[in-house]
Symmetry: C2
Subunit: 306 residues, 2 copies
């Protein structure tokens, strides 16, 4: 086992032993204790304290989106290996008996499952674009939406900071290119201020997403060259390979054109979003300040309202 | 269209027009507005005000459970048609190109998806039993757990009170038969008191779950005869067919035996749970008191802390 893998496993074991996380027998899938959730709620409150004065429209989506929305989003072109679709049983009594036999004999009982109209949300903001698109052209002020959603990424890992199901708290800005870029610049400052106030060490860097396959290499290179995505990275189980805890994204008119969202001037809207990975920030706090929040530095507890 | 279906559609349209719910283009899958979510939070707070003094252990699970946990739970024997499994893409560049072509030609691109180790949670309490099972025999006091989870049921419907993804807030009691039954009796009183204080009309009745197929008919009949599940029903879109908003379940030793959870005396634990359907209660409040919470009766607003 590499040093990194050993450090990840050791941290995960520590979190499970202290019952901050609860094993569900699958890498990347965990229950959370009341203490863990309370920290998550406090991080959300800290985010709200900074973002609420902008008076965003609040939208809360379930952990799923329409399969048609996933298809239309373009996510399956760039990251098919991370997406999840929901399948179910559509058979009758006979198929049911066969399925139960498969379960009892440890066979693949899911072979007969068929696709439903539901897919899992790959990012919190994916519900926003189709919802805004139905409302006609944006006003000159554009739009600002506050979202918070459980998302799914199929990447089983022993790293507790790489979960398969986790929550993203985001603000999404829709409008002109200038509005989207100004929003991102503002939140890059705010994001650093929030994480700094939590007593966490961090760096900010251009992101390097693991896009899929050959096309993915081109996508990744253009993402870097055009600085479309920045990440705020905090060392959790490694200083060499720190963990992205906040991301600052500028999508150009990718979603505006894809969903036919028009700015007031009739052009395809440009969009940007800031996303806080609330579980990752919680894990960073537990790593840097210790597993007992009651003993965290007074200043950090103050900022969180703990 | 039947009168019932027309009433359901009318209420759903009204909720969408007032932007309390947000269409995702799939029956039973909706975004929630800030107002809707605030009511949900207040219902949770009202539940906590009643239940917190019992000092439950808080567990919060993601919307998924291990597929092995779903298999072992027995849910696939009784309700296979409602369960969801998560599938993903495991191919290479060639398979990816074929998949993207299927998407572009509106073909079935999900045919190549394969099962992952993740399934969707069919009920909030399903994460609790395996977690408690790992801890060894219960103490003489048994255990009490507070859970809150997004669950999935594959039953697309135009009825806004029958969502595919919704949240259940539960207390789960594990111990002897006497402890489980006393817990259920207590919460049947508490549940009626809470819903009554919210100014909602209700009845309580033995439940009639739509178990699957031939075996399902036997399960349903034994559920009724042994009064294993009671529901608190509130008329939302129909007085003849009111909606179950709270359920009170006694599982005998089904989960205790299935998960090998032992009482202090060495016998398989008996379990019970109370579940509040927070979206359904929110919809009932919106139906009975109007779509503007600011205009709800002062007494109801008081109880909710609105």
């Amino acid at each position: 086992m590499s040093d990194l893998a050993a450090a990840q496993r050791a941290f995960r074991d520590e979190l499970l032993e202290h019952r901050l996380l609860i094993s569900m027998g699958v890498d990347g899938l965990y229950g959370r204790s009341g203490t863990f959730e309370h920290i998550v709620e406090c991080i959300n409150a800290a985010f709200s304290a900074v973002g609420d004065p902008d008076r965003p429209e609040v939208m809360r989506f379930p952990p799923g989106i329409g399969k048609w929305q996933l298809e239309k989003s373009g996510y399956l072109k760039s990251s098919p290996q991370l997406a999840g679709t929901v399948h179910s049983f559509f058979g009758g009594d006979r198929e049911h008996r066969a399925m139960v036999e498969q379960i009892e004999s440890k066979g693949d009982w899911t072979a007969g499952q068929k696709t439903t109209e539901v897919a899992l949300a790959p990012a919190a903001c994916y519900g926003v674009y189709p919802a805004i698109a139905t409302r006609g052209p944006l006003s000159a002020d554009g739009a600002l939406v506050d979202v918070y959603t459980y998302v799914f990424r199929h990447e089983p890992s022993i790293d507790p900071a790489r979960m398969q199901m986790f929550r993203q708290r985001e603000h999404v800005r829709l409008g002109t290119a200038a509005q989207a870029l100004a929003f991102r610049k503002l939140w890059m400052e705010r994001g650093q201020a929030v994480i700094g106030a939590l007593g966490l060490p961090f760096t900010v860097d251009v992101a390097n997403d693991p896009f899929f396959g050959r096309t993915g290499k081109l996508l990744a290179s253009s993402q870097r060259e055009e600085s479309l995505k920045f990440e705020l990275l905090v060392p959790i189980t490694s200083t060499e390979q720190p963990t992205a805890c906040v991301s600052f994204n500028y999508h150009r008119d990718l979603f505006g054109a894809g969903w036919d969202i028009k700015s007031a001037d009739g052009a395809a809207a440009h969009t940007a979003c800031v996303g806080f990975g609330v579980e990752r920030i919680t894990l960073a706090l537990l790593k840097h300040h210790g597993l007992a929040p009651a003993k965290w530095p007074a200043k950090v507890r103050d900022v969180l309202g703990l």
